[in-house]
């Protein structure tokens, strides 16, 4: 291709290129698509499928144009990027490598423990908390707004999926964005009147909000099923293939891939599903943190009055943090409902909010990796302590206190700066 770095090729050369591709596909397509052997009463006959061929060639033509257009824009964008200053590496690159190692471990975990359903199930629970922790981290860690009712958004997500799927037959993937939007809307509804409150006052209002949502779910029986909750929520499918032993309705995951049916398929699928959701959350939050809005969240945490004096609309900055945090909680809620197949208000009590908050604080406010370590600790410690039955929570509390004494700023208190000059001549 004759694409120059800084300008796009003209229309004629684009069309020429696409026509070339169309000709090649025509040549290939005549034998492969245009002609078809049919069984005509014992003898083989050849039928033609010209409309199919035409559609194929046209698709290739248009596809090539679109592909080329996208590629050129990516190139152009890259060229413009190269002219801006070079990226400067992280101040603590090894933290990043630990992060990659954790992701690598998470990817192989279900394969390494494929016979052990308990491990994969527990890991799935850890990942739900990781995702919730990353969501709440936007609100508490970055924007510095103490939210004690985060579980309410988790509940909104879960009930959105529960209700839409049982009443209207919505699937997991369609509900995901809707539930995220619903949770974000609740975030804005709660945030709008209350975000002018600070510190303790905001904490109390959010605590109340969490309880209000739970009490509505308990008492509004017609809507939410009350304390009985919502049962038989459909499980997520693998692009339409259900994880069931046999189905009259169509192929199942096992039959489609010619595998022996095993209930573990679903467990593994759920694990990878939450892993993907969590990684997307991480990617999204880390990118947001590097954007002006992310820096503004941190600035509001540091000094709200100074932000106002610099012309920043503090209410909007806080609302965006609240809405995005709520949305991520909503996503996690959808997954939770789909995994359990049954939800009731009991899953959304205050102690859940407290656990998620503990994960964020323990991990180190604003640290993504810290949240992972803290989630592992907070889920595993009570699990490991099962043998000590009634002393379990005592041990748990003691461990928390020790960690906070040892690392008062959280496990990873390091904050990676968003912008760096790299010290005059030393680098760049």
């Amino acid at each position: 291709m004759t694409t120059h770095a800084h300008h796009l090729p003209n229309v004629a050369s684009r069309l020429k290129d696409a026509t070339g591709i169309a000709l090649v596909s025509l040549l290939l397509g005549v034998p492969m698509i245009g002609l078809k052997t049919v069984d005509a009463g014992g003898a083989l006959a050849i039928a033609t499928r010209w409309p199919w061929l035409l559609a194929f060639v046209a698709t290739m033509f248009v596809g090539r144009l679109v592909l080329q257009f996208v590629l050129d824009h990516v190139k152009l964008n890259k060229a413009k990027r190269a002219r801006t200053r070079p990226e400067i590496g992280a101040t603590r690159p090894w933290l990043k490598w630990i992060g990659y190692a954790v992701v690598g471990f998470a990817l192989v975990l279900p394969i390494a423990f494929s016979g052990n359903r308990y491990v994969v199930d527990t890991a799935t629970t850890v990942l739900i908390y990781v995702m919730l922790g990353w969501g709440l981290n936007v609100v508490v860690g970055l924007a510095g707004l103490l939210d004690l009712g985060y579980v309410a958004f988790y509940a909104v997500g879960a009930y959105t999926y529960g209700l839409l799927s049982t009443h209207f037959g919505w699937g997991f993937w369609e509900t995901l964005p809707v539930a995220g939007a619903a949770a974000a809307t609740f975030g804005v509804i709660l945030g709008w009147p209350t975000l002018r409150l600070r510190g303790d006052y905001l904490a109390i209002v959010t605590l109340g909000f969490g309880e209000i949502i739970r009490l509505i779910l308990v008492n509004w029986t017609d809507f939410s099923g009350g304390p009985n909750g919502i049962g038989s929520i459909p499980r997520p499918t693998f692009f339409g293939l259900p994880f069931s032993p046999d189905s009259d309705a169509g192929p199942t995951f096992a039959s489609f891939f010619h595998l022996e049916y095993s209930p573990e398929h679903r467990v593994m699928f759920l694990y990878y599903l939450i892993l993907v959701l969590a990684l997307l959350t991480n990617l999204f939050v880390s990118r947001m943190r590097k954007l002006p809005v992310g820096l503004a969240w941190e600035a509001v945490r540091e000094d709200e009055v100074a932000c106002k004096a610099l012309g920043m609309n503090v209410t909007n900055v806080k609302l965006s943090a609240f809405a995005i945090g709520a949305m991520l909680g909503g996503f996690a809620g959808v997954f939770f409902a789909a995994r359990q197949g049954f939800i009731s208000p009991e899953s959304f009590v205050f102690s859940e909010s407290a656990t998620i908050l503990a994960i964020v604080v323990l991990g180190g406010m604003g640290s993504q990796l810290g949240v992972v370590i803290a989630s592992v600790l907070l889920v595993l410690l009570p699990e490991l302590g099962r043998d000590f039955s009634e002393y379990r929570m005592l041990m748990f509390g003691a461990a928390m206190i020790l960690i906070m004494v040892w690392r008062p700023g959280g496990l990873i208190a390091h904050r990676e700066p968003t912008y760096r000059l790299g010290k005059q001549g030393a680098k760049a």
């Binding site: 413009k80 990027r81 820096l295 000094d303 009055v305 100074a306 004096a309 610099l310 012309g311």
Partner: protein, 272 residues
């Protein structure tokens, strides 16, 4: 006289029964340094809070003559519009930096509105579009420019909270300058500075007003700064203006001497 930037007309601020500012009128010209002085508790900082939208004045008006938007009533604006739209930016008596952020980041936050618009409310920024990258580059250049001018460039990547008091004061001024203010309101910028640092501050204030044409409104106790740089001084006592004029006029004003030194010591003019 040069053109007026800010006109404060019969401003009154009451907190319950206490009148902190009483019927105060001041005008601040473009490209000049105007100082507000007065004993402790005279209402200087309250006056600043009224100008910059942190308090809503009980009576009176604060009018900013903006070259683009025309006359703007600051007392009727939401507080963040005072900096964003009217171009009136302040610093604080007790420094308000973002302590855990680097000096450079402090200056980038000050350019939030421009960057946020360029990032199309995060959508373009999320995908790293070129337009946003260019805006980011421009923001970094502006920050670098002011950091160099204020001799802070070596400290750009240091956390702002770890630096000395005098340096933090300079950072706060640099941060305010990154908002591109028309009027810079400095609340005791020389407090806690050593003599060399306050001499540098004098030089900076003159540079900003003369070279950049910025209006500067100064609250200051350090008379070495006030008397050397001010074009115009306004003296407050108990919320009212007791004198106004050039440094010489104010220094020789009997009311000012009385307010600062009491009546008995009226002869001791040099001490003021």
């Amino acid at each position: 006289m040069s053109e007026m930037l800010l006109e404060v007309d019969r401003l009154t601020m009451r907190f319950g029964g206490l009148t902190a500012i009483d019927d105060l009128s001041v005008a601040v010209p473009k490209g000049k340094i105007t100082s507000i002085i007065g004993p402790n508790g005279a209402g200087k900082t309250t006056f600043f809070n009224c100008l910059t939208g942190f308090y809503k004045p009980t009576e009176g008006s604060v009018r900013m003559h903006h070259p683009v938007h025309g006359p703007l009533l600051l007392n009727e604006m939401p507080s963040y519009h005072v900096a964003r739209k009217a171009g009136v930016v302040r610093t604080f008596q007790n420094i308000r930096l973002f302590p855990n952020m680097s000096v450079l980041e402090n200056l980038i936050v000050a350019q939030h509105n421009a960057l946020q618009a360029a990032s199309r409310f995060s959508l373009a920024g999320l995908f790293g579009r070129a337009g946003f990258r260019q805006a980011r580059e421009a923001a970094l250049e502006k920050a670098e420019m002011w950091l160099t001018r204020l001799k802070l460039i070596e400290l750009a990547d240091t956390a702002a909270g770890n630096l000395s008091y005098g340096t933090q004061r300079r950072i706060e001024i640099a941060r305010a300058l990154c908002v591109d203010p028309l009027l810079l309101c400095l609340d005791e910028p020389a407090a806690g500075l050593n003599p060399r640092e306050s001499a540098e501050l004098n030089e900076l204030l003159l540079y900003l007003s003369r070279e950049h044409g910025k209006g500067v409104l100064l609250i200051e106790h350090d008379m070495n700064v006030v008397m050397r740089v001010s074009d115009h001084i306004c003296v407050l006592n108990f919320g009212t203006k007791i004198a106004e004029g050039t440094p010489e006029q104010v220094q020789n004003d009997p009311n000012v001497i009385k307010a600062y030194l009491g009546e008995e010591d009226a002869d001791d003019k040099e001490a003021a």
